[in-house]
């Protein structure tokens, strides 16, 4: 039980008359690469936004188990509090600080965890300088890790889509999270970038011990990466299981266009 990282219990989310999430229950184990898939409009991003405190579901509970299995209820907390507790995320359309360089983008992530103090920041005392040096080093390490070291001083707005995803991942990792939520990381990337991203994602989990929760449309990518999947349709969970189980699940197949496994593979 204590090896859970996320526990979503009967969560429902409504916007006016539209039901975005309908009695959704799921859980993620620590160290898992978990994927959430489903047709467009199934509620996947709403789920993400609920997990990060951006949306507030009207029903249900979401519990996040931070370090030392300390439980925290996500619903009712502001987004930055949830992020501070150890939930990092990327966005469907990459949100970088576009007028800043790659290095600065990640550095802001690394610093956000230090205690704040305007006076201390101004005075640049020895403690502040130590902290800054540490953030700088951490930033460089992360840029090396995601493979953006050579683009450290490029304006982030000039990065390619694949590199933007890497930047967002690096920035999220800079906050020393327990779990990294990736919203369609492969969208808009070419096959070689996709391969690189998949390897990176695996590396994040293997080398850094960060659990991964992934939304993706690219079936090939998802099936090769994910250890377990949930399938959403019209705001409800319609299936759960390993990649092999999901591929042969008739409800899932029906939910997507196409009524054969091959057709589903063609989605990639």
């Amino acid at each position: 039980m204590s090896d859970l990282i996320f526990d979503v219990d009967h969560v429902s989310l409504r916007f006016g008359g539209v039901i975005s999430l309908n009695d959704v229950s799921l859980h993620q184990n620590r160290g898992e690469i978990l994927a959430v898939i489903g047709p467009n409009g199934a509620g996947k991003t709403s789920l993400f936004n609920s997990l990060t405190g951006v949306y507030q579901p009207q029903e249900g509970t979401i519990t996040f188990y931070a370090k030392d299995a300390k439980a925290m209820s996500v619903i009712g907390k502001k987004a930055h509090r949830v992020a501070g507790a150890g939930v990092a995320r990327t966005f469907q359309a990459s949100r970088m600080f576009s007028a800043l360089t790659t290095f600065e983008n990640v550095k802001i992530g690394a610093e956000s965890h230090h205690g704040i103090g305007a006076v201390g920041a101004m005075l640049k005392g020895p403690a502040t300088r130590r902290d800054e040096k540490a953030s700088d080093e951490r930033t460089i390490d992360l840029l090396n890790f995601v493979g953006l070291r050579d683009k450290a001083n490029t304006l982030s707005a000039s990065l390619s889509y694949g590199d933007r995803r890497r930047l967002e991942i690096a920035r999220g990792l800079a906050t020393q999270p327990q779990v990294l939520l990736l919203d369609e990381p492969a969208a808009g990337t070419n096959p070689s970038e996709k391969l690189g991203l998949a390897n990176l994602i695996r590396k994040v989990r293997d080398d850094m011990g960060v659990s991964i929760l992934l939304i993706e449309h690219d079936m090939k990518l998802v099936m090769s990466l994910a250890e377990r999947l949930y399938v959403l349709n019209f705001g409800s969970v319609i299936a759960e299981g390993s990649p092999a189980e999901i591929r042969s699940n008739p409800a899932v197949i029906e939910a997507y266009l196409g009524s054969s496994v091959e057709a589903m593979d063609e989605q990639a």
């Binding site: 916007f15 006016g16 936004n49 951006v54 949306y55």
Partner: protein
């Protein structure tokens, strides 16, 4: 508690005595606020932008109608049909002045920014600058003192409601206001222009794909809002005269009304205007004259903090 209780009872007594008079006055003021508020709401709808300079459009309408009236009205006070004709002319002149000012504003201060796809902050600052420019120029040209509008009719109580006299002035505002507001409502609901405005307000990109001329629609939106604001300037000027600073406070209150009713929502703007006018009017019974404005600004601050979507909700709102 005793002192406060005494304060309340004595002021409520005043309120009850003056109720109908204050009601009529409040409604008239409310119509003026509503008409100006529509200008804010319309521009907000199509540009997602608060037109800070709308206060000066109100002023331009006031001055335009003043000059026209000054040129036409002789020394004797007209009456009967002549009065009605003059009032109508005044409304038209005010509307024209407001529309021209609004068009000029849009061309000079906003369109170049739209061409460059400037960040929204630039529009706000440009609006502030334009507002400043216009009203200080007016101050330079027309002097710093209040100029009274030539008399178009003999102001007298027309009839009484429950003992409170209803002056002709209020009647003029109520009738003129009602005609214009209903006219606008029909225009937006039924005509092609109205549909274009609503389309652009919903989704400008798609609207342009569907063949709506965005530039023209925006220009016409400004004209509409400007016409109503300018006409309101004339009506306001009838009672209070015109002066270069006349726009600031009424426009800020009209903005309060627009937010109160739900910015982006035309009927909300009118509703907000009426509510604000009534609130102001009734508070005369409770606070000193100098603090009436504080009531309006206080409502503004409260609405923005507590329910920024307003009463009728932000029609063109976003989810979550």
């Amino acid at each position: 508690m005793g002192a406060f209780g005494h304060y309340l009872t004595s002021h409520f007594a005043t309120l009850r005595l003056e109720f109908w008079g204050l009601l009529v006055g409040g409604l008239a003021t409310g119509f003026i606020y509503g008409m100006v508020a529509i200008g804010y709401t319309l521009v907000y709808g199509v540009l997602r932008l608060i037109n800070f300079a709308h206060s000066e459009i109100f002023m331009c309408g006031g001055f335009a109608s003043y000059f026209v009236m000054k040129a036409i009205v002789g020394t004797s006070v007209p009456s009967g049909f002549a009065s009605i004709g003059l009032i109508t002319l005044g409304v038209v002149a005010g509307a024209a002045g407001g529309a021209i000012a609004a068009t000029a504003l849009e061309r000079v201060a906003y369109r170049p920014l739209r061409r460059r796809n400037a960040p929204k902050l630039a529009y706000l600052i440009s609006a502030i600058g334009a507002s400043y420019f216009m009203y200080n120029l007016a101050g330079k040209e027309f002097g710093r003192y209040n100029i009274a509008m030539p008399q178009l009719y003999l102001n007298h109580p027309v009839f009484s409601i429950f003992g409170a006299p209803v002056e002709l002035y209020y009647l003029v505002i109520l009738i003129a206001g009602l005609i214009m507001l209903i006219g606008l409502d029909r225009l937006v609901a039924t005509t092609k222009l109205g549909r274009s405005i609503r389309a652009v307000a919903q989704d400008a990109e798609t609207a342009s794909l569907m063949g709506v001329n965005i530039d023209r629609t925006i220009a016409l939106t400004f004209i509409l809002g400007g016409a109503l604001g300018g006409a309101a300037g004339f009506l306001f000027g009838l009672g209070s005269g015109v002066v270069y600073t006349m726009g600031f406070t009424p426009a800020l209150k009209a903005f309060t009304a627009a937010v109160l009713g739900g910015i982006g929502n035309l009927r909300g703007a009118v509703l907000g205007g009426l509510l604000l006018g009534l609130a102001e009017s009734f508070s005369v019974a409770f606070v000193q004259a100098a603090y009436i404005d504080v009531v309006a600004f206080g409502i503004l601050v409260l609405v923005l903090l507590v329910r920024p979507t307003g009463i009728l909700g932000e029609r063109l709102g976003r989810s979550a």
